[in-house]
Structure formats: structure tokens, C-alpha cells
């Protein structure tokens, strides 16, 4: 009756069940911890220092067949303390700065990432960025997106050691309007940037 095979089977079964329960316990308690620290409503402050659009012709910048494609970049300030997102089940936190803006028709909408960061330790989770440049040059599905208003938000994703991926966003909201195409920064915005620096 008690063959090696059967013994192996029952040991394996027990081990799998146990690992399942332990994993579920680890994940659920980490969620409770996130709730207790109010992690889904973290403060943040986001402000746009300057924004500039230019025209690109390379495929790397979204141009198809060498046609002109409007590209936008921003410079921004950002402050947010995400230390509480780190608990026993946090392997990494991926933070990303998104801009949401309307499309041509009222039903359409767009959301793009200007900047992101992989944070792997608690010590690096208190973000303070000044005059930070966007990591990515952003283009739209259409040729141009000038004069549309964009809303900036800082969002995060917790990559767990085990369990479900957890998403959330911080409370702060920034905004800017996609400018006309220029090769250089408009003077007014440069002035604004200087004023902010002096403050």
C-alpha cells in the first residue's frame, strides 16, 4: 500500500497546499498593511516648469514614412514620499509620471508616460526631483496635439514577492498645455522657469 510513489505524492500535495496558504497569508497581510498606512492616498506635488514641442522625422520618434511628427518634452518638479509602499512583500515599486489628455473626438482619450523609475529599496522611495527632464519624448497617434490640456499624475505599481500586482496613484495633480512647435523654448516659459528657481 505505501509505495514510494504514494508517499512522495502525499508529501508533495502537503507542501503545495502549505506554500499556497503561506503565500496567500503573506499577500493579504501586506494589503492590510498598505491600507493601514493609507498608501492608496499618498500626497504628492507635481508642477510643470516648462514644456516644448518640436518636429521629428525619424521612426524612433513616431514618424511613419518620414512624415513630420510632433514630439513633446517637459521639465517638471516632483515631490512624494512613497516609503510606506515598502513592506515584507514589496520586491520593487515602479513609479511613473503620466499625462492624460483628450483626443480629437469626445469619446477618445490618451495617456502617456513622461518619466518613470524602478525603486528597489525603502531608502530611495522618498522622491524629490527638481528641474527633472522627461525621460521620454512623447508623440500622439495624430500628427499634432498642440493646445490640448494635459493632466499630470504620479502613479505606482508594487511588484510583490508573491501575489497580485498592486496599483495606485498619488493625490497630487499637475497640468500643462501642449505648446506650438518651436525649436527653442519660448521666452515666457524660460522666465517662468527662472522665477521658480529663484523661489
Amino acid at each position: 500500500m505505501f509505495s514510494i510513489y504514494q508517499r512522495g505524492q502525499s508529501v508533495l500535495n502537503f507542501a503545495v497546499t502549505l506554500v499556497g496558504f503561506i503565500s496567500a497569508f503573506i499577500f493579504i497581510t501586506s494589503l492590510i498593511q498598505l491600507q493601514l498606512t493609507d498608501s492608496f492616498h499618498k500626497d504628492s506635488s507635481i508642477s510643470t516648469i516648462s514644456t516644448a514641442s518640436s518636429v521629428k522625422f525619424s521612426k524612433r520618434f513616431g514618424s511613419v514614412g518620414g512624415k513630420a511628427k510632433e514630439n513633446n518634452k517637459i521639465v517638471f518638479d516632483l515631490q512624494s514620499d512613497l516609503t510606506d509602499l515598502f513592506n515584507w512583500n514589496t520586491k520593487q515599486v515602479f513609479v511613473y509620471l503620466t499625462a492624460e489628455y483628450p483626443g480629437k473626438t469626445p469619446e477618445s482619450s490618451n495617456k502617456v508616460v513622461y518619466w518613470d523609475k524602478i525603486i528597489t529599496s525603502k531608502e530611495d522611495a522618498n522622491l524629490t526631483l527638481t528641474n527633472e527632464r522627461a525621460k521620454y519624448s512623447v508623440w500622439d497617434v495624430e500628427e499634432s496635439f498642440k493646445n490640448r490640456d494635459a493632466t499630470l499624475k504620479l502613479e505606482w505599481n508594487i511588484q510583490p514577492y508573491v501575489g497580485l500586482l498592486t496599483y495606485g496613484e498619488t493625490e497630487g495633480i499637475g497640468s500643462f498645455t501642449f505648446p506650438d512647435v518651436t525649436e527653442e523654448k519660448p521666452k515666457s516659459q524660460k522666465k517662468k522657469a527662472n522665477r521658480r528657481k529663484n523661489n
Binding site: 509505495s3 510513489y5 495617456k111 524602478i118 497617434v141 502613479e155 510583490p160
Partner: protein, 170 residues
């Protein structure tokens, strides 16, 4: 000449083997049905999402979201390329009828334009995705990597299975 009891034992064992295989297959198809994805569990094969996902980790997919969000990790397939890719959505553009996505590996310096098909600028969330990653379990999938990439391991495993069936026979 023919020992009937022996045949019966053999048939019973064969039946049990078939039972194991079919129940595994049914479980897989059931997951497929629930998640609406042709492969509801995938094993990570590349390091482009490190340190979040390492080779051998397994991911549970869900394919019933009507719209994907920026920040979602999706698994997509490109025409004429065999291996599905696990990357993060960094842009989404949607209207009532369709949604276009641009993806990027967290660990890669640039977006996935170079990985897409010739002249493809976006993924279509309806056609190109196998699903969105919802759950994660580390390391377990490394067995499949060992089986597919290491011949000795495959033979060792087959040998071990053969021996245990013989021993289990008594």
C-alpha cells in the same frame, strides 16, 4: 497463457495515467476559459522586466479587461514571431472602437518599436494581447526552462519517472 490479472493491473495503471493527463489538460482549459486567454499562465523567459520578473517566474494572465491602463504589464504576440513578450504599457490611445498601446520593458532603455512588425507603431489591445499580468509566483516555472533548454535534465526527469512507475508497481 495470458495472465488476465496482470493485464487488468496494466490497464488500471494506464487509465490512471490518462486520468492525470486529462485532468491537467482540463484544468488548463478551465483557466483558459475563466481568463479568456489562450495561455493563462506564462513563464518569464527574458530579463527585460528585471528586477520585477526574473527568468523562470510564472505569471497569471487575465484577458477580460475591455481597456488596458498605462502601467499594466501585458503579454503580447507579434505576427511571425513565436515567443510572446512580457512588457509594460507606457502609452494608450483609445476611442470607442479600439485601443492602441505602446509597450516597453522596465529594464530596457527604449520602447518596443524595434520589436514590433515592420511599420507597426502600436499594439492593438484587442488582437495582439494574450492577456494582462495580474498574479505572480516566483521560480516555479524554471522547471520548464530546464526541460526545454537542458537535454540532460530532460533525460534525468524521464528516467526518474520511469523508475518510480516501475517501483510503484510492486
Amino acid at each position: 497463457m495470458l495472465d488476465l490479472t496482470n493485464v487488468r493491473v496494466q490497464a488500471h495503471q494506464a487509465l490512471q495515467l490518462i486520468y492525470v493527463v486529462t485532468s491537467a489538460y482540463m484544468f488548463w482549459k478551465f483557466l483558459s476559459l475563466v481568463s479568456n486567454s489562450s495561455s493563462p499562465i506564462v513563464v518569464v523567459l527574458s530579463g527585460s522586466m528585471e528586477p520585477a520578473f526574473q527568468r523562470g517566474d510564472i505569471l497569471f494572465l487575465w484577458n477580460r479587461d475591455t481597456l488596458n491602463k498605462v502601467g499594466d504589464v501585458v503579454v503580447y504576440e507579434i505576427k511571425d514571431k513565436v515567443i510572446p513578450i512580457v512588457h509594460r504599457v507606457v502609452r494608450e490611445h483609445h476611442s470607442l472602437s479600439k485601443q492602441l498601446l505602446l509597450t516597453k520593458g522596465d529594464n530596457n532603455p527604449v520602447d518596443d518599436l524595434g520589436l514590433y512588425a515592420y511599420n507597426q507603431m502600436y499594439l492593438n489591445s484587442q488582437n495582439d494581447l494574450l492577456g494582462t499580468v495580474k498574479g505572480y509566483f516566483p521560480l516555479v516555472g524554471y522547471v520548464t526552462i530546464l526541460i526545454t533548454e537542458n537535454v540532460y535534465f530532460k533525460y534525468a526527469l524521464l528516467g526518474f519517472m520511469g523508475i518510480t512507475t516501475l517501483l510503484g508497481n510492486e
